[in-house]
């Protein structure tokens, strides 16, 4: 076994004893196995023909089972993106035994299996339940998996660790009797950092956790009515500070107003963002406040003592007392330029001296964004055990994270990742692309998205060139439903069908971060071959215009879209 600093491994505890995942108690376990048996009976009824596909559909969707172009797809919830190594190994096993040996991480921090057989799904859910996992509410018109900052509990810039609140929201929203047949799906994101890595303003509800500087009370700035899709909106601020004790009641009020007044006549107008904007934010927010004022708030009061109890699941791992500078880390960077390059993009500052947060790229050049093979998942699980307290996180940008790595261990970690095809030094760069599954899998798609991402990555394969370009986020959707987040890409790409032919529009200036912004379409679309050249024209224009050290989005903000438009269309 390689050298390890894992206190768990050295003391014969399970290697992931300190992984910050919510561990089920007997009630949680009772629930999850009852749910598996319920679904097993439902599948049997369906296979026997006792219920129609139309009636089975909402049942399977509530259990994460979609019917795609070629097969069923099972979407497994990864609550707020947190996994233990035991859970990662189980996902690897499920991919190997029941699927084609790989899984796909999504923009909602979940994982999808693309080829399960219907009759195997109850067994898969049982295997998940054994490791405190499920696929509940990963689909359907209900409250979906709550997402958060992938660096929570580790980032140097964090003010409040959002995970305990994300878990409270997970429990509150699970099989909610009133809010399981909403007008449309409902997504909540939460962050505790002033640097928003959870894109909270493009969610149905976005929560920014913060601490009142005077009283020390924790609460949330609540945003409502954001979303992407066909009609993108940034969320509006509902309240600047809702204390933790009141947050469930406040969310009940929002959901009740939406459930009663959200449109149900048109699926494309049914999200809360449309309700908010058709009614006008002032009126909508007024209704929320009225509802909140009269509902029995005491019933939903979140007891601080119980917040503390759930907090124990997310206790900080036993970090060691380390010097600020690791000599071996510095020496390795000097000796190995490829490693040094990786450290420039794939590391984030940790709040504890001597540690770093490592992003594992699932975007190898030419690969499928977000895909991981079973063997790769097992490698990640092993490395998490050795170097990061047995904990793995999933990011909404479809990468993985080891959040607590000693700087001393980074070189060994990267070497092992690199050997497994997981060491690409491109986090945040032009080849770190979000792409939806597109026509390769999805029944809704108009165009391919994955091959476009692959070809862009190949065009910019030279890592030195990528590093020279700096932070540049490309996001690709194969239809206007925007699962590939094209509205908030620095460069967004939207696939559209024009008389049976694929066309791709370019949007510029989107941003999913703290300065959230929606991109604008620059002009007519490009065909499948032309889109890669067009991206390169945009990039080359940026290189010509940029000032020293300036990243793409800053240059664009300074120059406006005109020079990019001219470069793209003048040559035609």
């Amino acid at each position: 076994m390689p050298d390890t600093h894992s206190p768990a491994l050295r003391s014969n505890q399970p290697a992931d004893a300190h992984a910050a995942v919510y561990r089920y108690d007997e009630f949680d376990k009772t629930f999850i196995f009852e749910r598996v048996e319920q679904f097993r009976a439902q599948v049997e009824r369906r296979i026997k023909g006792e219920i129609t596909e139309e009636e089975f559909k909402p049942i399977r969707l509530m259990n994460g089972l979609y019917l795609q172009l070629h097969a069923y797809m099972l979407r497994v919830a990864v609550p707020y993106g947190m996994l233990s190594s035991t859970q990662v190994r189980r996902l690897a096993r499920i991919a190997r035994v029941y699927d084609k040996g790989y899984g796909h991480f999504t923009t909602r921090q979940n994982i999808q299996f693309n080829w399960p057989k219907l009759e195997d799904v109850p067994a898969i859910l049982h295997e998940l339940a054994e490791v405190d996992m499920h696929a509940i509410q990963t689909s359907g018109n209900c409250i979906r998996n709550v997402t958060t900052d992938q660096f929570c509990g580790a980032a140097a810039d964090e003010l409040v660790d959002p995970r305990v609140y994300a878990e409270i929201l997970r429990q509150w929203s699970t099989l909610h009797p009133e809010f399981t047949y909403l007008p449309r799906k409902f997504k909540i994101a939460i962050t505790g950092s002033p640097n928003d890595r959870a894109a909270v303003q493009v969610h149905d509800i976005g929560l920014i956790a913060k601490k009142d500087e005077v009283t020390g009370r924790v609460g949330f700035t609540v945003y409502v009515g954001g979303g992407q899709g066909r009609t993108p909106y940034l969320a509006v601020k509902a309240r600047d500070f809702v204390p933790v004790e009141e947050i469930i009641g406040y969310l009940e009020a929002i959901l009740r107003v939406y459930n009663q007044l959200g449109r149900r006549d048109n699926i494309y107008k049914a999200r809360i963002k449309i309700t908010v904007n058709e009614m006008g934010p002032a009126k909508f927010l007024g209704l929320i406040e009225e509802e909140y004022a009269r509902l029995p708030r005491q019933k939903f009061h979140v007891d601080p003592a119980i917040v503390d109890a759930i907090q124990t699941h997310f206790a900080a791992p036993p970090w060691a007392d380390l010097p600020a500078v690791s000599e071996s880390f510095e020496a390795a960077k000097q000796a190995d330029p490829a490693f040094a390059r990786w450290t420039r993009t794939n590391l984030t500052a940790h709040k504890t001296q001597g540690y770093a947060i490592a992003t594992i790229s699932l975007k190898p050049i030419g690969g499928i964004p977000g895909d991981a093979e079973s063997s790769q998942l097992e490698t990640v699980a092993d490395l998490a055990d050795l170097y990061s307290f047995g904990e793995v996180r999933v990011t909404h940008e479809q990468n993985l994270v080891l959040a607590h790595v000693r700087q001393d261990d980074l070189y060994a970690l990267w070497q092992a990742l690199d050997k497994a095809g997981l060491g690409t030094a491109n986090a945040g760069l032009i080849s770190d692309i979000i792409a939806c599954p597109g026509l390769d899998y999805c029944a809704l798609a108009n165009t391919r998205a994955i091959p476009v991402a692959q070809r862009i990555a190949e065009r910019f394969a030279d890592l030195d060139r990528q590093h020279d370009l700096g932070e540049l986020k490309i996001k690709i959707s194969g239809c206007i439903n925007a699962c590939g987040h094209h509205h908030v890409g620095h460069i967004g790409i939207l696939g559209v069908d024009k008389k049976g032919e694929e066309f791709f529009q370019i949007l510029l200036g989107g941003d999913a971060g703290t300065n959230a912004a929606l991109g604008e379409i620059v002009g007519p679309g490009f065909d499948y071959d032309g889109i890669i050249d067009a991206v390169e024209v945009v990039v080359n224009t940026f290189v010509k215009l940029r000032q020293p050290g300036e990243i793409f989005i800053k240059t664009l903000a300074r120059t406006g879209h005109a020079p990019f438009k001219e470069a793209l269309y003048a040559r035609a």
Binding site: F27, Q42, Q171, W172, H176, P177, E178, T180, F300, V302
Partner: protein, 169 residues
């Protein structure tokens, strides 16, 4: 159509009256909101129990000031996917403290039954060919509830271990 209480068919005393049907001389009747508003005096003069049907786009507030006169409120599900009645039921109970019977009718599937009981619905109307063990079974499949609501099972609510407060009787 059969009416289920706790998963089993019951003898139903109510006559569900369409707007163009004549009012029977006596007996409990359920009428539309519109007919209730139009024939209120005639209905209350009969001295028999009165129920009112709400369509899914008619909120609980439409009937809230009349609840003292009503022994039953029936909530329609035009499609099982239309979940507005879940909020209507909850508002009747929680906001307006309604103690009479709440009945769900229309397109309802057994998988919604437990949720219905947890927002305050007492009875469901089910087409004859849909009556079967699935309904009673649906109430027993999941014994754990994660959030405070209005069902009989609230004592086991998980998040209630984390959320203070009392459940209305």
């Amino acid at each position: 159509m059969p009416v289920l209480d706790r998963g089993l068919p019951i003898d139903d005393r109510w006559t569900d009256l369409a707007d163009d049907q004549d009012m029977p001389a006596d007996g409990a009747v359920i009428v539309s909101l519109e007919r209730w508003r139009a024939d209120r005096d005639a209905l209350t003069a009969r001295r028999d129990a009165i129920g009112v049907r709400l369509k899914s786009n008619q909120l609980a507030t439409e009937i809230s000031s009349d609840l003292g006169s009503l022994s039953l409120v029936a909530l329609e599900f035009p499609k099982f996917r239309d979940g507005r009645a879940f909020s209507a039921a909850r508002e009747l109970r929680e906001r307006f403290d309604y103690k009479g019977e709440i009945r769900a009718f229309g397109h309802i599937i057994p998988d919604q039954y437990l949720f219905l009981t947890r927002v305050g619905v007492d009875t469901v109307v089910v087409p004859a060919d849909r009556v079967g063990p699935a309904w009673a079974h649906a109430l027993k499949e999941i014994s754990v509830a994660f959030q405070p609501a209005l069902g009989r099972e609230e004592g086991t609510s998980l998040l209630r271990r984390h959320l203070k407060g009392t459940v209305p009787a």
